[in-house]
Assembly symmetry: C2
Homo-oligomer: 362 residues x 2
Amino acid sequence: VRRLASSGLARDYEVVVGRGTLADLGAEARRVAGGTAAVVCCDENVAPLYLEAVGESLAAAAYQVSHLVIPAGERQKSLSRAEEMYGVLYDRGVRRTDLMVALGGGVVGDLAGFVAATYQRGVRLVQVPTTLLAQVDAGIGGKVAVDFRAGKNYVGTFYQPRLVLADLDVLATLPAAELRGGAAEVAKYGLLAGGELWELAERLAAGGLTAAGVSEDLVAGCAAYKLAVVAADEREETGARAVLNLGHTIGHAVEAATAFARYSHGEAVALGLHATLRLSRELCGLEEAQEQSGHDLLDVLALPRRLDGVRPEQVCALTARDKKADAQGVAHVLLDAVGEPRPGVRVPAALELEVVTWLTER
Amino acid sequence: VRRLASSGLARDYEVVVGRGTLADLGAEARRVAGGTAAVVCCDENVAPLYLEAVGESLAAAAYQVSHLVIPAGERQKSLSRAEEMYGVLYDRGVRRTDLMVALGGGVVGDLAGFVAATYQRGVRLVQVPTTLLAQVDAGIGGKVAVDFRAGKNYVGTFYQPRLVLADLDVLATLPAAELRGGAAEVAKYGLLAGGELWELAERLAAGGLTAAGVSEDLVAGCAAYKLAVVAADEREETGARAVLNLGHTIGHAVEAATAFARYSHGEAVALGLHATLRLSRELCGLEEAQEQSGHDLLDVLALPRRLDGVRPEQVCALTARDKKADAQGVAHVLLDAVGEPRPGVRVPAALELEVVTWLTER
């Protein structure tokens, strides 16, 4: 078991990464978060797999446990679903000092996190990420949100959990496509951090991407990288946090341009990373061999390599609507080298279109 | 003009209090907040009075100004109104680096503040409080929220503005009842701070409570008291911020028990303060003469002195639903003496009922 502690946040917290740790959830939550009642939120896919075990662990730690099961899918990240969840908390008399346990992937973490952040101005939140994507990325860092119209995560806030508990054993029940989606974020951290994390990402890919192949070192390494970046810029104000958007500016635009239907988040990020590698060679002097090793890693992970089903112009029109855009447009995060991200790069519109067009023609 | 600066917050900001300051809004906002577009949110009562002047001031400081006018009243503090406002910001392509200007009383400040806090995880917020209540209390401190069912401010967050600008001249157009409601919060700050602020509150009452009688010293004094408390406990976690709830625990329950219809917030706070003064003598040894001077101040301000139209049991049932309640119930803020608040007092249920019953029979 690896224990990471954030530092430098308004309120610091622990990230626990291990195998079989789900059984310790109640004791860990009792230790760091306290509270009387615990509402466990998960989707219909996760409920039959882990809800009982989680409930037992929490009950053994003297929590009054109740459940809040929602349908699966990104469409649940809506204001209307959040409103329904507020009603559940209201009816159950949940208090600020109680716990919301977000048991699931990015959707449940973002949605239950947003509800926890805003109900009574904040009930205590425990993130129990059950997908690789959420364990290495979404479950950490305090971003919570719902979608609004075509705007992904357009209504949200920053709200740090009291505890993040990642059990790698639960990855065994993940569909292969979900595991691949998470691997796209792993590739992102490999490209950002370089060094050991890049090697761990390549090893994961070379091993054929299995749940058993996901190591504590890898997940804890990604989480530690993210915690350090978030501590430097908790509310995305100084620009330091922007590096986490590697591949995401174009990735988000791809998701929006395809109505959040054709590509999963991880698949869209993989496409965004391909484009980012290209742009990095054009604008930041990324070596061709490093660019190629990035493309290769994503290919070995069996992530999509060509953008289909959308015109390049549609994608480029949406990068300008990025939440991080200002009056000068959006700034991309590119790479000077693997392990050396460069945030704040203004990409000429013509070049952005050229690279997205290349992405549709590979 | 008085300029106060917060200190100790995650991001500090300035509070400007003066007469005729509305004309300086654009320049002040440009100096501290920057941004390209400014969306001015106000209600239908305020729009014909001040929207043009505010728009001109902002336009003169090179903001692209647009308006968002909503109906007046507490009922606007709803999730559905917030959703409609998100749609307006979306349609106008508002960015995080743009400004939301909340021009109005507590309702507009809370609602526009909540929308600003959550749209794209936060656009820049400028509070321009136009009621006495908002100038001394609601516009300062970063609490933003909408109501949910009978739960006042049950969905919200903490989000500090970039600037608070209070122009005392605008109080001249306030209905007398609104001025009285604000005076209840002034009385709260007088009771909390004692000393000069208590004397200023008594002077305001003795002068017959006119807009012209509201001094910069008084408003700046209340604002400074609140800023200092908020700095010690920005997110209401340590308990220090609880003193600001003097009179509000019962006041909020009165509002909820009467469906937010019979009493304004300030009137309900006045009733809550009467009960708090009684409880303080019973439980904290508040001197009878000080208790009486508190009741007298509220009476001179022509605030309600008797609770009508609701059974005491209904009010007491709702204090337990206070957002600050934990498993042991809610803790009241009482007074050891004027100027010496004591937070965290557990009031026996029988005594609470006795005092609320007294409030209905005075």
